[in-house]
Symmetry: C2
Subunit: 348 residues, 2 copies
């Protein structure tokens, strides 16, 4: 969005203040204006006119998924997304990982005094667009403003409600020996995209974040009758930490093959420059799927329709219980553990 | 909680780190430890062992309330509460204001690097205790850590789900001419308690915040058949801003009488010293109730069982539509508007 678009599209009552002030979070007129003129028209129409402390919703299912995530990513805008789109994708994906159909999202803003109003407007619009694409409605929200130097531009919390209409029990406890482990695409792009901006690195091509919603493909897998045992999206800590957590929680062993893990050449090169292992780099549109062997081929086929780099990366076994073992490209075997320390701070 | 209690009660794996580090939010081992050893044992047992991206819940009603609030209060501890108890009360109360029975809460932490671990432990324990008292379960959460100087100790987002089992339509659009407006106690204590700590003011007695859950009294009113038209808790912006918003949203006039608005003498005195109008000072355990005249006496009676300072402060009319008018103690009439500017930053 260019400055001209901001001037043309943003209500004058909002533009009057070039940056966010403490009073925009004070519960008075300015906050009221921000809600009425900026948030309400951009977000859902549910309960509009009622303007109440909580949104009231009719729900068709008696089984729900509920999740929350705060987003503190730095910088706020990056190739392939921004904090607003990320905040919607992240929460949609957490719901999808339970096999839920994401329905409703909340938006809680913690804004640092002095944030340019145009920045807020761009983020709010990005959230609106992303929610529309994901098929979710932003129905309730909150705005707080903290003094300059006590925040960092903007932090966003999104919580989400999804409905569960299947009878699968999708979680680490459902994993079985022999399960196939499938990944829905190449790894490491989100982390590298952020690091490249932060470190001012320039590659031949711009590496864009993989940030994307996963609810559509999950829905398809469920509707096609794939017997999903577990799913996990690969965010902070990357593929390794997700698998290590699942191995520990399920008390099964996990074997993966390095050669089957898709990593784009530019991402691999950037990882080498930055001294990072792509297995630990954050993603925002990637997940691992655990399904019985019988369903693996069909799942791969369905997932390939969305993304060609889908790959079966390993299997579940009863050796080395609670641990992840990887066969490297040179056929050596090594234990894959959770991330130690901090690799990429504020990646989401 | 004293330091000794922290040493005795907090798991050693957590105590090993005297303060929160960036890696505690990195998605790796330290974050895993924090979740497993600090949050999971203190919060709900639902989905324990499943440890998944979202919590799965069975819901008995098809009508839900959903709300979110971030808490950025400064200081973190104050007479009558702390950011943890406030974060639970606030969201429980937002749900209660829809007449919902609060059930499930999420907890999203944004922690500034360097926060003493003991502080986090105290806050987590306070949330646990408060949730228990309120009858809600904290079932899903998230932890982010931001670099020192990019936050302010800790910010907490809580989102909440409540079930609606009544057939009332509780919101400004349901207000009718002649409705009685009742307040459930004296106003201004929360704001003054915070300001006193912040400004280092000492009064004869310590003024404690009124922070408290409202779900129990709301539940009682509904169960006793009170025809509730609207409710609103009086947080940022105080009584004035809440009433002004309701008047605007309902397009009715609201008349209140200053002499009927309960303000404790010590609070009134503190307001005078600080140059504040108690009508605009934040509360965290107060709400206004709109009921038809026929139900006013019964509602007052029920509410008095919990708090003696309950008072009927005014009525709804069709004069001065969309506005709040107050008759002062000297019988002068004045318009009550929403808070302009910022009175008490970071009060919740």
């Amino acid at each position: 969005m260019k400055n001209k678009e901001f001037i043309l599209s943003c209500p004058v009552e909002i533009q009057k203040y070039p940056s966010v002030m403490m009073a925009h979070g004070g519960g008075g007129k300015l906050m009221h204006n921000l809600i009425e003129k900026m948030f309400m028209p951009e977000f859902s129409k549910i309960d509009a006119g009622k303007r109440h402390d909580s949104a009231v919703i009719d729900i068709s299912s008696n089984k729900l998924a509920f999740t929350t995530d705060s987003y503190v990513i730095h910088p706020l805008f990056f190739p392939g997304g921004d904090i607003g789109s990320l905040a919607v994708h992240g929460t949609v994906n957490d719901l999808a990982m339970s096999g839920a159909v994401p329905k409703y999202i909340s938006a809680g803003f913690i804004i640092e005094e002095g944030l340019p109003m145009e920045t807020l407007w761009r983020i709010v619009n990005s959230m609106k667009e992303t929610a529309k694409i994901c098929g979710v409605e932003i129905i309730t929200g909150d705005t707080k403003v903290v003094d300059k130097g006590k925040g960092d531009g903007i932090f966003i919390n999104t919580s989400g409600i999804g409905v569960i209409e299947h009878n699968l029990s999708i979680n680490p406890a459902s994993i079985k020996e022999g399960d196939a482990i499938i990944i829905n695409g190449d790894i490491g792009r989100h982390g590298i995209a952020i690091m490249a901006v932060r470190e001012g690195l320039e590659f031949e091509t711009v590496i864009e974040s993989d940030s994307a919603p996963l609810n559509s493909i999950v829905n398809k897998l469920i509707n096609e009758g794939i017997e999903i045992h577990c799913m996990r999206d690969l965010t902070r800590g990357g593929l390794s930490s997700a698998l290590a957590e699942i191995a520990e929680a399920s008390n099964f062993g996990i074997n993966i093959n390095e050669k089957d893990i898709p990593v784009r050449e530019d991402v691999r090169g950037a990882c080498e420059i930055l001294g990072l292992d792509p297995l630990y780099v954050a993603n925002e549109g990637r997940f691992v799927l655990f399904v019985p062997e019988k369903d693996a081929a069909k799942a791969l086929q369905l997932m390939q329709l969305e993304e060609p780099a889908v790959s079966m990366i390993g299997t579940v076994n009863t050796n080395n219980k609670g641990m992840v073992t990887m066969k490297s490209v040179i056929e050596a075997s090594r234990i894959i553990d959770m991330l130690s320390g901090e690799q990429l701070p504020r990646i989401c």
